[in-house]
């Protein structure tokens, strides 16, 4: 029987990140993935990044993850979102080539000597002893110390196309058993979620002249630190915009009883932020015009992805409503849209490292934790993978603060509350938008990366980066000389204390100005450093003010608490004690985020924290 330090079950975005980071610690790792399902596939929309998610991809990259570099490599259309709304809230989104993405990950992983990829289906996981598992697959068994479960939508998965209900984690794919089949006598609490995807359209049957074209933006900056900021690896293509109309919606409304969502066939809870077209039809009876983004799935793939038309209606209805859309009159469906129902675990059973509280050698990451999105899954895989390694090394776990990363926000949200729908990151979930930006990701994340004590190219780069940020900030705070040419171009008057002060001017193109200023003075800095420092200075006043306001509160929020003591206190109501016992919070912030915790309990605990 082969033995490993860490076994990862599931080769999706969570699984590959976990495997990638775990092998970088030097451990022997295996990634067990379903035969006939490609590694790191993107079974829903063909894009990586987006509002909030772009920040996550950069955070993953700064922690040494995989997603950023592969997204850069496979990008075929690039966009900067929220560009007009100020530098703090901009996000990057790439349309990616699905085949190139998956192939590139497979290639990167197969080059690793510490990592074995096993194409097999896991039947059972048995914990023999602390840090000693046996994982039984259909054709072999392995033993390992830690298991990371990243099963995505495959746990007891069912797909629905109209009344055609079949077992599977994706359409025409196998699935795995329910959790209690995998773990004998497991008493884990699970929920049933649902998600959906639209039909894939034959790219040759679409009349693009009737759609609005959206090209790639060459100014978009790559995710990976070691890629030149604006270099594209693939040929760039366009996306297209279409609109539904009255006919489209009336076809859907006329077939309510054939919709698995509305006739009771599906009982899982779907995400409200990503509704199917049936949901839109019935929830907004007065609206008939909805956007449809028609996105290519790859340079050499025959399919287009009609973003916005997720559905589980029967195939004939899908055909009918698609063809009612201007530009899609002749369209052919290559793969029908479908819904999938799957098991997720209640994440309040996990601790902040994503380990199961009652069995700390077992980690959960990705869609199995009730999240949606490739980026959310990847981030969790990386955190679980790193923490499994740190635990084997008996080192401090990797826990990101919600005050300085979206990954921190997500993981704290997951482990402190039972979610009632699939969880997606929104910038709205952070209290600190002005600070959790894309441009300063390395500055925010480098301290976490360095706490892993690894020594790769990225670690040297980050050390250098932080030094340069400090140096440049110092220069700009102290320097007050500006050449008369620059002053003329930017219409700057003499009375200013420092360059840093100039950068606070809301009308100034700060990055462009700083680039020119440095050239003017014969200085050269990495563009990422320059941009980071310029935006830091622009918001400095706001950030310090809000940090001052929050610092007292923050101090309190990060204070550790001993939940066992709280559960014994007679000063806390029975109901609150039950909730505390269920969640087992370790900081005041986590305690505060528990649903239904009474103000009196918080006040009582706050009053006793030293």
């Amino acid at each position: 029987m082969n033995s490993f330090d860490i076994a990862i079950i599931g080769g999706g975005h969570a699984g590959v990140e976990a495997a990638w980071i775990a092998q970088s610690f030097g451990f022997r790792v295996t990634l067990i993935t379903m035969p006939n399902v490609s590694i790191a596939s993107t079974p829903c929309n063909p894009s990586i990044g987006g509002v909030g998610k772009g920040q996550v991809v950069r955070e993953i990259d700064a922690l040494g993850g995989l997603m950023g570099r592969v997204a850069d490599y496979s990008a075929i259309q690039c966009r900067i979102l929220n560009e007009t709304k100020g530098p703090a809230v901009q996000s990057t989104r790439y349309q990616i080539d699905k085949d190139i993405y998956s192939d590139h990950v497979t290639k990167l992983l197969s080059e690793l000597k510490n990592l074995d990829i096993i194409y097999d289906k896991v039947i059972r996981v048995v914990l023999n002893d602390e840090d000693n598992f046996t994982v039984d697959c259909e054709t072999q068994s392995i033993s390992c110390k830690k298991v990371i479960l990243t099963a995505g939508t495959f746990l007891d998965g069912f797909t629905h196309v109209g009344d055609d209900k079949s077992k599977g984690g994706r359409l025409s794919c196998d699935r795995s058993g329910a959790l209690d089949e995998l773990f004998e006598k497991s008493e884990l609490k699970t929920l049933r979620f649902k998600t959906g995807t639209p039909a894939r359209l034959d790219a040759k049957t679409i009349d693009y002249s009737k759609l609005k074209e959206q090209g790639s933006d060459s100014r978009t900056q790559n995710f990976h630190f070691d890629h030149e900021t604006k270099h594209r690896f693939q040929r760039q293509v366009s996306c297209f915009m279409a609109y539904t109309n009255e006919e489209t919606l009336s076809i859907i409304r006329a077939n309510k009883e054939r919709s698995p969502l509305f006739n009771g066939q599906i009982c899982g809870v779907g995400p409200r932020y990503c509704p199917s077209i049936e949901d839109k039809a019935f929830r907004y009876p007065d609206r008939n015009i909805h956007h449809v983004f028609v996105e290519p799935e790859g340079l050499n793939l025959p399919t287009m992805y009609p973003n916005g038309l997720s559905t589980s209606l029967p195939l004939d209805i899908q055909n009918a409503f698609l063809r009612s859309i201007d530009g899609l009159a002749e369209v052919e469906i290559i793969l029908p849209g479908y819904a999938v129902e799957y098991d997720v675990i209640e994440t309040t059973q996990l601790d902040i490292t994503l380990a199961l509280k009652i069995m700390p050698s077992l980690y959960f990451a990705g869609q199995i934790n009730g999240t949606s999105g490739y980026e959310e899954a990847a981030a969790q895989g990386l955190i679980a993978g790193a923490n499994a390694c740190l635990s084997l090394l008996s080192l401090e776990p990797l826990v990101l603060d919600r005050g300085d990363s979206y990954i921190g926000v997500m993981i704290e949200d997951l482990v402190t509350n039972v979610r009632d729908e699939p969880y997606r990151l929104f910038t709205a979930r952070s209290e600190n938008r002005l600070y959790i930006r894309e441009d300063n990701t390395i500055e925010r994340i480098a301290p976490y990366r360095s706490s892993l004590n690894l020594n790769y190219q990225i670690d040297q780069y980050q050390q250098e980066y932080i030094k340069e940020v400090k140096l440049l900030s110092d220069i700009l705070e102290k320097c007050s000389f500006i050449s008369s040419d620059m002053a003329k171009i930017y219409k700057i008057e003499d009375s200013f204390h420092s360059i840093a002060e100039l950068l606070k001017n809301p009308k100034l193109d700060i990055v462009g100005f700083l680039e020119n200023y440095l050239i003017d003075n014969g200085l050269k800095f990495d563009f990422r450093v320059l941009q980071n420092v310029a935006i830091n200075l622009k918001y400095k006043g706001y950030i310090t003010r809000s940090q001052r306001e929050h610092s007292k509160q923050k101090k309190l929020l990060s204070k550790p608490i001993i939940w066992q003591d709280l559960c014994e206190s007679t000063n806390i109501s029975f109901e609150c004690r039950q909730r505390i016992e269920a969640i087992q919070p370790s900081t005041f912030s986590q305690l505060r985020n528990i649903k239904g915790i009474r103000p009196a309990t918080l006040a009582y605990v706050a009053g006793r924290i030293k």
Partner: protein, 467 residues
């Protein structure tokens, strides 16, 4: 808030009387099960339904003798005043009986006496009442006028409570509008999301402005309204004071400086309780005691609800500005030989004779209080009416009189006012988001914390989101 309380069951006499009365209500709150009290009840408690009244005997558990005949009602948690199990016992209102019953429960069960306000404290802790409601309740129970009583009711359940709920909803909309612009601009579109933001901000600002308007009264003047009589020494303040009280209170004499310190009495005008204050005459003096009195007078004047100036007609010259006072009373008109030179149409000035039945006056003669004396009742009515009109005018806008609420609203309004222009022209959503966060923090004390899940829920409910 005090956090010293535990969650033990509590008992207290809820109808407050120190003397004997026909009926008294004793409340017990926070027990686990009603039948645990069985040994002191004759009635079988397992048969008791919530919200039904039962007649029974309370018996001494040891001697099995009757303590009293009572009626009781059981309110089951959470459908009770404070969200806990509550038992309300109506017994005979004799102090000995009340004490016996309370002692019976404390001695036989794990129950302690409630601290003052603890029933309501628990209602707040259990989210039955918001902090603003509890504050309203305090007004409700301690109101010294029908108007304050109404303000209390308004904060407790009525319009003020609704105003805060509305502010809560408007804040959710405001926060949502930023999130729509950032997280869902592809769904909603930039122009529409900008419009939604501007509309939400305008609505929120307007609501805050209205609330702020309602705090622009002097709350100490409303909670404890005083009528302050001021004027030059020997103008006749004390005479007027006694007249308004209809009793001899201030020492009246014709020696200037007779009233050295202020004298305060309560008067009730149409159920509104006022403090009527006769101040020491304001004059330069070397008398130490009188100086202290003058300092007091100045303090009273600045805190007063209603300032009543008493002035000798000789002082009533062109340099005197009656508009600085709520009411000016010009005295000794009987001694004035050229009263025709006065213009009698200044609205807040009354003219009277103070000493003696002579001369042309508006409201008839008035002298020192004398049961048989020529006191014009119509004058008192007129003065009362002017005072009461002012008092009532304060309540037209439903004033917010609780200090904490006033403070929060003022700081919210000041912030909005300061950054209003910044916010409406700014297109940097990072900075906007910073401002909205700050506004939200300011509101938290008034309307509670709003979570991101609430915001997202509101967006998903009101807008079609999702590509």
């Amino acid at each position: 808030m005090k956090f010293l309380y535990d969650t033990k069951p509590i008992i207290a006499l809820s109808s407050s009387t120190l003397s004997n009365s026909a009926i008294a209500v004793i409340r017990i709150s926070g027990f686990v099960e009603l039948p645990s009290f069985q040994k002191v009840f004759k009635k079988n408690l397992t048969l008791v339904k919530p919200r039904h009244a039962y007649f029974t005997e309370i018996i001494d558990a040891d001697s099995t003798s009757m303590v009293d005949e009572v009626t009781f009602v059981y309110f089951a948690a959470p459908a009770s005043y404070n969200g806990e199990n509550i038992l309300e016992i109506s017994c005979h209102g004799n102090q000995i009986i009340i004490q016996n019953i309370i002692n019976l429960f404390i001695n036989n069960f794990d129950i302690r006496l409630a601290f003052a306000g603890e029933f309501t404290y628990r209602a707040m802790v259990n989210n039955k009442l918001s902090l603003t409601q509890v504050e309203g309740l305090d007004l409700l129970l301690n109101a010294n006028s029908p108007q304050i009583l109404q303000a209390g009711q308004s904060s407790f359940k009525g319009k003020l409570h609704e105003s805060f709920l509305e502010l809560h909803n408007l804040l959710i909309q405001l926060k949502s509008s930023i999130d729509i612009a950032l997280d869902f601009s592809e769904d909603i579109g930039d122009d529409l999301s900008r419009q939604i933001f501007l509309d939400s901000f305008t609505n929120f600002f307007h609501a805050s402005e209205l609330l702020f308007e309602r705090t622009r009264n002097n709350n100490s003047a409303l909670l404890n309204p005083s009528i302050v009589l001021s004027g030059q020494p020997n103008a006749g303040k004390s005479t007027l004071f006694n007249y308004l009280l209809t009793q001899e209170r201030s020492i009246v004499s014709n020696i200037p400086g007779t009233t050295r310190d202020y004298v305060s009495e309560s008067i009730s005008i149409e159920q509104v309780l006022f403090r009527l204050i006769d101040t020491a005459g304001l004059r330069e003096t070397t008398d130490k005691i009188e100086q202290v009195g003058i300092e007091h007078t100045k303090k009273q004047l600045s805190d007063s609800f209603f300032s009543l100036k008493v002035i000798h007609y000789c002082e009533f010259t062109n340099t005197f500005d009656p508009s600085k006072y709520d009411l000016v009373i010009v005295t000794n008109m009987d001694k004035c030989l050229c009263s025709s030179s006065f213009s009698f149409d200044i609205p807040n000035v009354l003219y009277l004779n103070l000493c003696g039945p002579m001369g042309p006056v508006l409201y008839g003669p008035m002298g020192p209080v004398d049961e048989s004396g020529p006191i014009g009742p119509s004058l008192k009515t007129e003065i009362y009416k002017i005072i009461l009109d002012k008092y009532k005018s304060y309540f037209i806008n439903e004033p917010i009189i609780i200090d904490r609420q006033r403070f929060v609203i003022a700081s919210l309004y000041n912030y909005l006012d300061e950054f209003k222009d910044d916010i409406t022209i700014c297109d940097d959503h990072g900075i906007l988001s910073h401002h909205i966060n700050k506004i939200s923090l300011l509101c938290e004390e008034l309307i509670g914390i709003i979570t991101p899940d609430e915001i997202l829920s509101s967006i998903f409910t009101n807008f079609c989101i999702g590509k």
